[in-house]
Amino acid sequence: MNNNSLWSDALYRLSRNRAAMFGGFILILLIICAVLAPWIAPYSYSYQDLNLGASPPSSEHLLGTDVLGRDLLSRILYGARISLLVGFVATGVALIIGVSWGIVAGYVGGGVDSIMMRIVDVLYGLPFIIFIILLMVIFGRNLWLLFGAIGAVEWLTMARIVRGQVIGLKNQEFVMAAKAMGVSNLSMFRRHLLPNILGPIAVYATLTIPQVMLLEGFLSFLGLGIQPPMSSWGTLIKDGVESMEEFSWLLIYPGITFTITLFALNFFGDGLRDALDPKTSDD
């Protein structure tokens, strides 16, 4: 199989794409910061210096403090944990549902396929943000519910992409040969189909993470996402907006962090797509 050469080709193309490499570099840096937050953050995220109140950036508090005297840099670092966690976990949920759905629909085909894809079509046309808000209102603002709800919304496109790929693979000789040899359905998925659709899945997953993070930020901004004392970048921006007239740094620094992260993810995702599938580079 030329599987290896596809990936090494892609890796080569990716390494030539400066924007994508830069995005990837920023992402790795952010992930390291998020994981190491308890050790590298100068203060605890909940430590309050009430005498200080909101203070502009200084040598002691590099990015200043918020109205309760909490160090903004530490809160951004801890916020990275939540924001990135939501991004990755919810994307993972979307991935699992979408890939299974797409593989089954594409591989089984026929009536099952058309029913499954019709369901996807119908769900596509519904205002899902409203359902997430509804779920958060009804069941309380639980972090895991948030992961599940966002993941349950974002799987639709993944299912479509995977189904298309599987239909393309289904009639190729190696799949037919495997079938003729009596390979079970499960190992057909695992050994033959999944490895061949990893490329598009990886691309779409990278591009889903920023969508998910935006959605979390949106919910937290409305006050329907992460609850205090936990904070995500969305809640930091919300807090920043409330006091931006006097203390503009409280809005600007979390905003810059969030935007840079989204940039990095988008550049990396675009680069990955160009690297794995040069044909579709114009979008």
Binding site: P127, I130, I133, L134, V137, I138, F218, L224, T259
Partner: protein
């Protein structure tokens, strides 16, 4: 064409009924009644309230009652605002939200199509890179950050535009419309650039040029019709996004529209209002998706006849 239209409507009606039913029962299993909020009421008052809002009937009876009301356009009374019906509140908020969404989409289309087509025509030049870099910013800076930043710059520091309100001060509609429209301008710019690039390489464009049409005619009459189909297909789903954007923009700028009513209802646990607006939003989105699909089909000559 008409057959597709009719078939889609026949699919849409049961979908909307299912949405209404699921939402209704989701809200029924929500913990806490609508009246056990702030101050405790005496059992007798609670009983009367439940009777007045028909909450003492069985769930099934309430459901049938609600659905028959729904079919007549009656979404029931609001739990939080006594004496006001949900239909009435939607009717007050809707024109405001529509106006906001309308300005936003006009801004998005004008800026997006212009810069996207320009970028495609001047591919790999300055006029391609700069608009596309700005579009990337528009996609990466979320509405809930863009809005406050615009307020900070134009409202608070430069003091040239009002920071909130809708139709009370001159110019107070400008910032909300730009905030909501900017992200869509970015998407539309990218889509129209991609669509135009695809069309510009095709044979019929070469033919049009070969027969001596001016470049303007080639672009406007021939290329744009096909090149902008992705934009048209995008507009339907964009309505759903505009709605979500209106939640944020109306909250930031304190605009009395449907989006803000919905967010407030979510906070107040005004269940009938949540239920009513959810059904209404779903119906609207299904409708706009249908419209944009039909428009995209009609623009594409290959699918027009089938």
């Amino acid at each position: 064409m008409i057959a597709i239209f009719i078939r889609r409507i026949f699919v849409a009606i049961p979908v909307l009924l299912a949405v209404a039913s699921i939402t209704f029962f989701l809200i029924k299993i929500a913990p806490g009644g609508p009246f056990d909020a702030d101050k405790a009421v005496s059992p007798q008052v609670l009983k009367n309230l439940n009777e007045a809002y028909n909450l003492d009937a069985s769930n099934w009876e309430q459901y049938l009652d609600y659905m028959s009301g729904l079919l007549q356009g009656d979404l029931g009374p609001s739990f939080r605002f006594p004496g006001r019906s949900v239909t009435e509140m939607i009717a007050t908020g809707l024109p405001v939200t529509f106006e906001l969404a309308f300005y936003a989409i006009i801004i998005a289309l004008l800026i997006g199509i212009f810069s996207g087509v320009l970028a495609a025509l001047k591919r790999n030049t300055f006029l391609d890179f700069i608009p596309m870099a700005i579009a990337m910013i528009g996609i990466c800076v979320p509405t809930f950050l863009m809005g406050p930043l615009l307020v900070l710059i134009f409202g608070i520091n430069l003091e040239i535009l009002p920071v909130s309100g809708w139709g009370q001060l001159p110019g107070d509609k400008i910032l909300p419309s730009i905030t909501l429209g900017f992200a869509y301008a970015a998407y539309i710019a990218r889509l129209s650039r991609g669509g135009m690039l695809e069309v510009l390489n095709q044979d019929f464009i070469r033919t049009a040029r070969a027969k001596g049409l001016t470049e303007r005619m080639v672009v406007v009459k021939h290329a744009m019709q096909g090149g902008l189909i992705p934009v048209v297909s995008f507009l339907g789903p964009a309505i759903a996004g505009l709605l979500a954007g209106s939640f944020v923009v109306e909250t930031i700028f304190q605009i009395p529209g449907l989006g803000r009513f919905y967010v407030e209802a979510a906070f107040n646990r005004d269940y009938t209002m949540i239920l009513g607006t959810t059904i209404f939003f779903s119906a609207m989105i299904v409708f706009f998706n249908l419209m944009s699909d039909i428009a995209a089909l009609w623009l594409n000559p290959r699918s027009r006849d089938s």
